[in-house]
């Protein structure tokens, strides 16, 4: 149980909804402190793969191991960060209360969060640079700020693996930097990160490895090796554009 055990291991994993296979043969390893970008066109199965890591989708072939355990058993130590715009902006909660939600599982049923929990939540919100917005209603923050609040909620959980579902969509530059800084700190502390994204530049910037997915795994390896025009074209079905040396994908 030392630091060299992978945070996440895909062993020829195939996923299905009922009897329909939706993702085939994902194979690869994410070590503590590493980050992986999950890249592929819409409908490729990126969200499904993330949900499988959470134990919410059936693994019908191969295996997924999270922190050395089955996905369901590892949930305590895995944090999922949804896209902020999937949440109701009118909901009467403050940013601080959203972050505190990250402590609920720890607190357990029937008990109330204590001073220690509130302290952890406050620190987490500070780590994304929004300590001054704790009392503001979640919906009054900008899209990028809301995404940061959701990351803070995850940080409050003190997870060893983070799963982010397209966190940089429509996020302003300031928030993007804040998110990247917080993620870097988490990685430095030993957490592993999986980010599903379309943004290749960010993948280059922030991720050690890339998993290219289009219902089956096209490739899994170090970022520079994987983000090549040929592999991208294979993943995106011939719809990748290459301009000025930078690869832009649909």
């Amino acid at each position: 149980m030392d630091g060299s055990e992978p945070a996440l291991r895909f062993d020829h994993a195939s996923l299905a909804y009922g009897r329909v296979r939706v993702v085939e043969e994902v194979d690869g390893v994410v070590r503590p402190g590493e980050s992986v970008a999950l890249i592929g066109p819409n409908g490729a199965g990126k969200s499904t793969l993330l949900r499988a890591v959470l134990g919410l989708v059936a693994v019908v072939g191969g295996r997924i191991e999270v922190l050395g355990r089955t996905p369901a058993r590892a949930r305590r130590d895995v944090a999922y960060i949804p896209q902020a715009d999937t949440l109701d902006a009118e909901f009467p909660v403050t940013a601080g209360q959203v972050v505190l939600m990250g402590r609920y599982r720890e607190v357990g049923w029937l008990r109330r969060p204590g001073a220690r929990d509130r302290g952890i939540a406050a620190e987490a919100l500070d780590a994304v640079g929004l300590a001054d917005r704790a009392g503001d209603r979640f919906g009054t923050l900008s899209g990028g700020q809301r995404q940061r609040v959701l990351l803070a909620r995850a940080i409050a959980q003190r997870p060893r693996l983070l799963l982010l579902d397209e966190p940089f969509n429509g996020v302003d530059a300031v928030s993007q930097d804040a998110l990247l800084a917080a993620l870097a700190k988490l990685r430095a502390d030993g957490a592993a990160v999986v980010v599903s994204t379309h943004d290749l530049a960010l993948a280059h910037l922030a991720c050690d490895e890339v998993c290219l997915l289009n219902r089956h795994q096209v490739a899994f390896g170090p970022t520079e090796d994987i983000l090549t025009p040929e592999l991208l074209r294979a993943a995106y079905g011939g719809q990748a554009l290459i301009t000025d040396g930078a690869v832009v994908a649909h």
Partner: protein
């Protein structure tokens, strides 16, 4: 002010007020969750599916049997509803409508077999708040207490699930069980209210206070307290109005219905206040 106090000197009005206040507070608190989770149609369905239980209970054991019949059908319909919404291939709207009309018709058929059919029907649908006795008040209080205690125990999980269902599932919370629990709480309010205000009017108690409170505050804790207060106030004002109309002006205004109208009027006030609040905020002034 005496207009609001004088009616309740008579014992029967005082008992009606006790029930109305109880239901107002309990319904008010529950209605916050109904509004947050957008469960108004689900709640409406529950009022209709509980109805045949009311009739069966009445046929088997008279007026005192109503609560038990309602409770049995409440549990049954909550289970059916939750199962349907998890597995149904047709849209949730459609499955709710089918449940609602099917169950309700069974109830109507059952009650139409009786010679006193219209009297019974109106009693079940609109309640008989003026003739509640102490026993019924106690039953209402117990059911209401169970509902509130359940909400209090599960409140942080219910709020988390309401705000971020995907996040809650990801944390391993049993979302289906939580939904079942909330639906049961709603059903309990319907059962608690059936004798006093009837199954048709209870939907007002389950929606209006929460909706009105939401217009007045952005903080969940305040919304809950406001909703309870609005629910209780609606009961008080509605009963007083029905009494004054009847005694002073010889006007028959059904008491359950006046409570509902009072709630709607309070919603109107809340909407007006809410508009003033938001335009003040837009002008840049700080509102607490």
């Amino acid at each position: 002010m005496s207009l609001l106090v004088e009616p309740f000197a008579s014992p029967f009005m005082a008992r009606a007020l006790a029930v109305a206040l109880l239901l107002g507070v309990v319904g008010g608190v529950v209605s916050v969750f109904v509004v947050l989770r957008r469960l108004a149609f689900v709640s409406d369905t529950l009022t209709h599916t509980v109805f045949p239980g009311v009739v069966v209970g009445f046929l088997v054991a008279g007026t005192n049997g109503i609560v038990w019949g309602a409770l049995a059908f409440a549990v049954l319909s909550v289970v059916l509803l939750t199962v349907l919404s998890t597995h149904a291939r047709i849209t949730e709207d459609a499955s709710l409508a089918i449940l609602l009309t099917g169950f309700f018709s069974v109830g109507v058929i059952l009650v139409s077999r009786r010679p006193s059919y219209t009297a019974d029907l109106t009693a079940f649908l609109f309640g008989r708040i003026l003739t509640v006795d102490m026993r019924q008040i106690v039953v209402t209080a117990i059911l209401g207490a169970v509902a509130l205690l359940t909400l209090a125990a599960l409140r942080k999980e219910l709020v988390f699930r309401a705000f971020d269902p995907a996040g809650a599932a990801a944390r391993g919370y049993p979302v289906v069980a939580l939904d079942l629990a909330l639906n049961l709480v709603v059903a309990l309010v319907v059962v608690a209210a059936v004798r006093a205000v009837g199954t048709v009017l209870v939907i007002a108690l389950l929606v209006v206070p929460g909706a009105a409170a939401r217009l007045l505050s952005d903080r969940l804790a305040a919304i809950v307290v406001l909703a309870a207060a609005i629910g209780a106030l609606g009961g008080w004002l509605g009963l007083a109005a029905s009494y004054q109309a009847s005694i002073e002006h010889g006007l028959r205004l059904a008491s359950g219905a006046t409570v509902v109208l009072a709630l709607v009027a309070l919603y109107g006030v809340a909407a007006a206040v809410g508009t003033v609040r938001s335009s003040a905020r837009r002008r840049g002034r700080v509102t607490p």
